[in-house]
Symmetry: C2
Subunit: 524 residues, 2 copies
């Protein structure tokens, strides 16, 4: 196994001395070489200081220069497929095809943001020209645009070693905005993290940027992450993980002398609502696609469906029977880490021990392997006790039987914030769907019709986020081009001479941006 096991502090390396840990092969249930060394407190401080020093020049790069840098990162990642394939499947238990796919996605995220920068209009340039003759008072010339907020701390996710980790979407969007990144590797895949970090660092060097634009901190505990979030140089935090972890970071960030925003994506049960006509018309097709979604990647996706709400009636029994067949027949799958597998088993046991819930499928989960589980309960259990809506990370779902669409709608209206909600409908369900859609839109980041929530497209219209507790701030997405807005803020320039303005705001519009001029969007 490759990797030196030391943090990347700008262009330098951390030292041995902190607590050590190793990667883990969940398929074979053995520890991996080498030993990794937790970053020391002075190394955290050094990485943050370098980021702070690098921030002004990095933010001042032209959009074109930053785009070139992002393209370099994309190429460095894409060119390292063989290297990643040699280590990541071992570290994660994920199959090589998934790693290839995810690496492509990680590289494409950098390319997507490079294109966004090349086009340039994301800065939301607004120009209100002076009105010197206005009465009673003249209007000054006012021009605003989005600018980088400063250094960003990025916490890698356990379940996407590439696309949501060191070289993932948070890093790509922060760098695109012009913010240096200090990444904290997830200990579930330290060698993958180090390799990804080396690729970003190589791009920093190749583009002649300041070393402080990127650092990578290793750690198996929480101390390094806490020190990172506390450091005054850090201006925002990106995180994907558990609700407990996200909430702890939110509280830490809120208690700083200068509070900073935390963008925590904390998962969700992604409810699926099966309306009567759809259920009657195609129970087995629906069961097949939902079973595949539940089983995908051992259920280790933030968007894995964990609650299915179906109206009792024609098709219900056939739907349940087929779901039981599909989930019950699936082999136990390796999970990312023994700890994740243990938490999955605990969650399944908790549901199995409930008096008001029937166990439909509960396979044997052993070691780092998790077997799919399915439970069934009446909708009244959700409504009267607010139970069964806690996420069990893994292939585990609760099928909830509603007496009618009124009860199904009541379940929908009781949901806490979710990343997604899905409606399964036929044409004859549309009237009911029209009632449900706004109820769901008020509670989720993405509403789907006749699809499965797993699979998050990276594109301008994607919203991967949702009201708390799905994410810390539902006004932002963690996936897609909109993610860049988390790390930028508007600055207004009043009566600033044209030569002193950023290119984006100059009268001649040298970058050919779409701009809001005197309230009208134009590209003059």
């Amino acid at each position: 196994m490759s990797g030196t096991g030391l943090s990347l502090i700008g262009a330098g390396r951390g030292e041995p001395g902190g607590p050590t840990f190793t990667g883990w092969n969940p398929t074979e249930n053995v520890a991996l070489e080498p030993r990794f060394h937790g970053a020391l407190p002075h190394e955290v401080a050094r990485a943050c200081q370098l980021a702070e020093e690098a921030a002004p020049a990095f933010a001042a790069l032209s959009a074109r220069q930053r785009a070139v840098f992002l393209e370099h990162v994309a190429e460095a990642l894409a060119g390292a497929e063989a290297e990643f394939l040699a280590i990541t499947p071992k570290e994660t238990g994920l199959p090589p095809a998934r790693i290839q796919n995810e690496l492509g996605r990680a590289a494409n995220q950098f390319r997507l943001f490079a294109r966004l920068l090349e086009e340039g209009s994301w800065v939301d340039a607004r120009i209100d020209r002076a009105l010197p003759d206005r009465r009673p008072a003249p209007r000054p010339d006012l021009r605003s645009m989005l600018r980088a907020v400063g250094p960003v701390a990025v916490f890698g996710a356990s379940n996407f070693p590439l696309a949501f980790s060191v070289a993932g979407g948070d890093t790509a969007s922060a760098l695109a905005a012009g913010c240096p990144v200090v990444a904290k590797a997830h200990p579930a895949h330290p060698a993958t993290s180090e390799l990804a970090g080396l690729k970003i660092r190589a791009a920093v060097a190749a583009c002649g940027l300041s070393e402080g634009v990127f650092s990578l901190l290793l750690d198996a505990g929480i101390e390094v992450g806490q020190a990172l979030v506390r450091h005054p140089a850090i201006r925002a935090v990106g995180f994907t993980g558990s609700r407990a972890g996200g909430r702890a970071l939110m509280e830490l960030a809120a208690s700083r002398a200068v509070p900073i925003p935390v963008f925590a994506e904390m998962g969700s049960i992604n409810p699926v609502f099966l309306l009567p006509e759809a259920l009657a018309a195609r129970p087995q097709v629906l069961a097949d696609s939902l079973a595949a979604s539940i089983l995908q990647g051992a259920g280790q996706f933030c968007t894995s469906p964990g609650l299915l709400v179906a109206v009792d009636g024609p098709g219900y029994e056939a739907f349940r029977a087929r779901l039981v067949e599909k989930l019950g027949g699936a082999p136990a799958a390796p999970m990312l880490t023994p700890a994740i597998a243990a938490r999955f088993r605990e969650g399944v046991e908790r549901l199995a021990s409930r008096q008001d819930t029937r166990t439909c499928v509960q396979g044997a989960s052993t070691g780092a392997h998790g077997a799919a589980a399915l439970f069934e309960a009446e909708a009244g259990v959700v409504l009267s006790q607010g139970a069964l809506t806690e996420e069990v990370f893994g292939s585990c779902a609760v099928l909830t039987r509603a007496r009618d669409v009124v009860e199904l709608t009541r379940v929908a209206s009781r949901l806490e914030g979710q990343l997604t909600a899905t409606l399964m409908v036929d044409a004859a369900d549309h009237e009911c769907a029209a009632q449900l859609l706004p109820v769901l839109a008020d509670r989720v980041g993405r509403v789907l019709v006749n699809g499965v929530p797993t699979g998050v497209e990276v594109c301008p219209a994607m919203v991967h986020g949702g009201p708390f507790p799905a994410s810390s701030d539902g006004r932002f997405t963690a996936v897609g081009t909109g993610a860049i807005r988390r790390f930028a803020r508007p600055v207004c320039f009043q009566d600033v001479p044209d030569a002193l303005l950023p290119a984006e705001l100059r009268e001649a519009n040298p970058l050919s941006l779409w701009r809001t001029v005197d309230g009208v969007l134009k590209r003059e």
Copy 2:
């Protein structure tokens, strides 16, 4: 004096029973009729519950319907000029001309948002059409737009009884976004608040909207505000006031079971940097305009200049002398409340008692009147001790003498977050200004050249906000059309049939919006 002294709970009234208080005439230093009754806990809960019930239908109004409502509010406010003139000058000590001006501004804010809704593109509609033939996986149809976050709590400001209070910018932008508002009146102007609330409520009724769209809570303490921010129905908070008050609300909101964002605008010292050539060329002109800005409204503006940093050399002595003359010659002015006047006197005394600061002007402040104050210190005092950068709300400024532009730039780089920073330059200063501009842009919401920071234009390009502690979240503005974004969040619709989509996202673009379609902005 008019007013019943009772809260407005939807279409109803609060009851007597809570702690009572009165308005105050700061000019004559006497209490005003009638007595106002603090809202009772069950009234706070009732207002929030009504807002929650009203939220879905209010958010589902067409943009046109909401625009008509905002126009009704604007007309109701503008038509009440005589009523406001009969009470607001007495309650605030502000002259009638200022009240007329501010009422016009308040009405215009509603009209501005009405026009924004009529145009409609603010929802940032994004459409990524399905790619059914894409390999390895097809792309679904994805469409996103901004939607209302739900009920918003608005805290009125002491210093803008109309334009930043019950019928101020926070209320206008929240209602524009489709969020019901529960306002908390500032006790400095309860009769004005009640009248403004009655005008909004009349517009709610005239448009046939649910009563829960607007409520107004009265209180002279902090309990009602705390209960409001704690109520689960409230999804966001708008606040303009002190740093202590804003920070307390931020902490309260962060500690909720479901944390919510607080948009607190907490003031600033609005530093002004006088560069050598400008100072040498026109010391008296600069002193005159800055003195007028410091004296305006008895300095009771968030954007009042409180720190002037000038390079020692030609013009410095003339500038200071003229400033001393102008500020020293100004009569003491009535402040908004005795408490504000008392805090101003304390702040002035604190500066006057410093060994390292020279008192240039310190008039006699008595009762509710405040007299302008000016102090002078070497830049080293700011640099070595981080002192002299605390806001003294009122006509009080510190003139800081820098040895050279290097030291002046160091002062700039030591600033905490500010609403504004101003550069006074001549053409020969441009090289130095080009260095300073990005340093300031990193620390403030608005950079001005050769202007004064007082006077905040309401327009698309305005940014009234800035990094903490100027505001709680520098990524948002409290003034201008951008303020609406505080109260909206994106929702994505995946493969939702056209007939079930919001009008903004339908294929035919019936509202003729600018939309980002497959990554390209168009209005097809």
